[in-house]
Structure formats: structure tokens, C-alpha cells
Amino acid sequence: MQIAYAIIALGLIGLLFGLLLSIAARVFAVKTDPRVDAVKDILPGANCGACGYAGCVNFAAAVVKGEVAANACIPGGEETTRAIAEELGLEVTDSEPLIATVFCIGDNEHAADLFIYDGVEDCEVAGRFNGGFKACGYGCLGLGNCVRVCPFEAIEIGSHGLPIVDPDACTGCGLCVEACPRDLIQTLPRRSGQGHLVLCSSQDRGKTVSKACSVGCIGCRACVKECPQEAIEMDDKLAVIDIDKCDDCGRCVPVCPPGTIYPRTALPIMPGAIEQNKEKAEAVSSEKGT
């Protein structure tokens, strides 16, 4: 008999609450656009925020409302854009896949340190302390703000003290670009590694640069003069290569005295690669007798 009471009592309570919930669901029903859910399912779901919205759901809602273009999801890339466009019946506009590129090769072997830093592991904090522990005021401090912000684990700090971008994992979302307090990272169109780059961001005078870092751009203009495509221009005291104009002839690489120019196919710069490139460049220039 006891068990019957228990079953009846629990059953009644359960029924009561069930009814209450179903009534509540009716009374408090909120209409949601089914297309928002459909778009949300297409998105990668990383909630990285690269699109400028708080999360994938918010982005989905904005796309459905037409506030933002379907190709704004950078990690999702072309496939996602196409799937969303198909779902919503929009026209596809292609977006070029990007990759994060670090514009500094002043690793712990080639860039001089001013002092030993033993503080908070944060580039922003370290950079504000006496202008950073590196002699170069523009160089990478290697404390990994970009690593921590990356939702795809595409960046790590190598044993040489510089970030290494994994080209397979990087989606070009650009979060690291914003995270770097020294603005050393840019997202560039991938184009299977076409073009050469001057991997330095220093705006210091040549003398100051060479004191602080043996692989920094000294602003000597040798590459500017050498380039047959006129793809290299001076941005104040720093040479900058326009990868749209660069045809990968590679003539700028050996003429660069500090060896700062790299073909993009050589990226990411692994530990030891800097020494090799320097030796190679030196060998070529001594052959030419310059």
C-alpha cells in the first residue's frame, strides 16, 4: 500500500509540474527565426569574435537580418560563406583566405636584450616596463599575447622566442593582429606563399637598428634599387614589399645586408632558420664580390 501512495504522490506532483511547464511554454512562447538556427549550425562554432559579434549565434542573427555580409565569418572561409548564402538565397561574394604573418625575426640570438625581465608574462605589461626588455623598441617580446588569444591554437612561441604561425591551423581571423601591442602581426592573402617580405617593423635609424638587432631592416634602400618590379617602397625608415607587385625573382634577398628579406614560402620562421638565411645571403653576396 505504501508503494502505491508513493507512486500516486510522485505521479501527481510530476503531472502538476508537467502541466505547469507546458502551459508556461505556451504562454511565454518566444518566436525565433528558424533561419537563425540553420545559419548557426553552418558556422564553425568557435565563437572567436573575428566577425565583430559576440558569438556565432549573434552573427547568425545579424546575417539573417541582413546587417552583415555572409562572408564576414573569416574562420569558416569560403565553404561556410557559400553554405550560408545557399541557405538564405544570397549571392556569393568571394573572400580571400588570409594568414597571419609576424613581421619580426629578431629572435633571442640576433636581437639584443637590455635587461633580464622576470615579470608578468604579458607583452603589453613587459612593453610598458622601461620600453620593453629588448634593445629594439619595435621587436617581438615573445611573451605570447598572440598565442593566448588564438582560438585555433595556430600560434606558439618557438624556442627562438618568436611566434610560429601554423599555416594549416591559421584561419586569418585577425585576433592576434589586435592582440599584439607592438602591431607586429598582419593578415595577408595566402596565395600559396607568393611574394617576398621584409620581416622587420623597426622605424629606427639604421645605426640604432644594427646596434639592437643584427637582422633588422636598416633602411639602406639596397632592395628598393635592386627590385625590377618596383615592388619595394620605403615606409619612412623601413622597406616594405608589395606582394601584389612582387614576382618572386628573389634578387632582393642577397642584397639585403642584415638578411631581413624572406620568400613567403619560407614562413613560418623556425628556430635556426634565421642563421641559415643569413649565411645563404652572405654566401651569395660574397660570390658577386659586393
Binding site: 508513493a6 504522490a9 510522485l10 506532483i13 505547469l20 508556461a24 511565454f28 518566444v30
Partner: protein
């Protein structure tokens, strides 16, 4: 009145639910990484815990005790709390979307939380009156929030600290929680009901 004040003091500091009774450890560790989420969770817990104590007390006094079904307490309370949270969530979504955005994700998390269950069961075991039970619910949830917010503050600072590799992650979190618990031990025995 004095007894109510004593209940508030005891369940916030002396008999803190997280740090002295070790209830609700999973949200304590889980959502204490950021102050913002910790505060959101705290609000949700205060809300649900108070509601849960209120409803379970009524149900226990007017249904379970008269029909001698006290042995069904745990099952009924789970049922009640789960439905209650669900109900609140549905209502909140319609009535106040902003509040839903803030609390929404935390509400389902605490449905089956042991701290909520603990409050409901303890309110019965301590034979509190109705007002006492509700005050007990509020005090216990404030105690929980206090622990959670302190923990979040500490963990936000730990993010910036150099921690030996072997201790990174959950290890340092558990050590922190242990030390925090020891600190609260200082209140023990200050006041009893």
C-alpha cells in the same frame, strides 16, 4: 529576529556552503575563471536557491509530512527544482530578454546542483519555520556567491602570475580553494543556532 540574523551570519560566513560544507564545488571551480561570469552565476544561484527553498518547504510541510512521505524528499525535491528552473527560464525569456541574456546560460547549469538540493534538504532537517527557511535560502546563496566572487578575483590575478608548470590549471585552482577554505575555518564556532 535575532535568530534570523544569526541564520544570515552563520550561512554566509561560519557555515559557508562551498567552503565549509563543500557543496556546489563544480560551479565554484567551473565558472570562477572570470569575474563577469562569476557574478552572473551568483545572481542565478541567489535567485534559484531562494525560490527552491521556498517551494520545497511548502511542498514538504503541506504534502510530504501530512501523508508521511518524507522518504520521497530527495526525489520530489529534484523534480521540483528542475521544473522550477525550467519554468523560470521560459518565463524570463519572454518577460525580460536582457535578464535572460545575463542569467540564461547559468540557469540550466544549476538545475541539478548539489548546493541547491542541499539547501532544500537542510531547511527541512533543521526544522526551520517558513520565514527562517527563506532567509536560510538567501543567506546560503549569498555565502555561495561570496565564495565564488572571491575565487574569481583570485583566479583573475593568478592568470598573470608565474605558476610552476606542474601546478598550472586545475592543480593551482584546487590549492587556492583549499587555502580559501582554511581561511574561512577561522569563522567556525563563532556562532551556533
Amino acid at each position: 529576529m535575532e535568530r534570523l540574523l544569526a541564520i544570515i551570519f552563520i550561512y554566509i560566513l561560519v557555515d559557508n556552503f562551498v567552503l565549509q560544507r563543500f557543496l556546489g564545488i563544480c560551479p565554484f571551480i567551473g565558472v570562477s575563471r572570470k569575474m563577469e561570469t562569476a557574478i552572473g552565476m551568483s545572481m542565478a544561484v541567489i535567485f534559484v536557491m531562494t525560490m527552491a527553498t521556498l517551494v520545497t518547504w511548502i511542498l514538504n510541510t503541506f504534502v510530504l509530512v501530512p501523508y508521511e512521505l518524507e522518504y520521497l524528499q530527495i526525489v520530489t525535491f529534484i523534480l521540483v527544482i528542475a521544473s522550477l528552473v525550467q519554468l523560470v527560464e521560459t518565463a524570463l525569456r519572454k518577460i525580460s530578454p536582457t535578464l535572460y541574456q545575463g542569467l540564461g546560460i547559468f540557469l540550466p547549469l544549476i538545475t541539478t546542483n548539489c548546493a541547491i538540493m542541499g539547501v532544500a534538504l537542510l531547511a527541512v532537517r533543521e526544522e526551520f519555520t517558513f520565514v527562517e527557511a527563506v532567509v536560510f535560502g538567501i543567506a546560503a546563496s549569498i555565502g555561495f556567491s561570496l565564495a565564488l566572487v572571491i575565487m574569481a578575483g583570485i583566479r583573475e590575478r593568478l592568470e598573470m602570475a608565474k605558476i610552476p608548470e606542474a601546478l598550472q590549471g586545475s592543480a593551482i585552482t584546487l590549492i587556492t580553494a583549499g587555502i580559501l577554505s582554511l581561511a574561512f575555518l577561522g569563522f567556525s564556532g563563532m556562532l551556533t543556532l
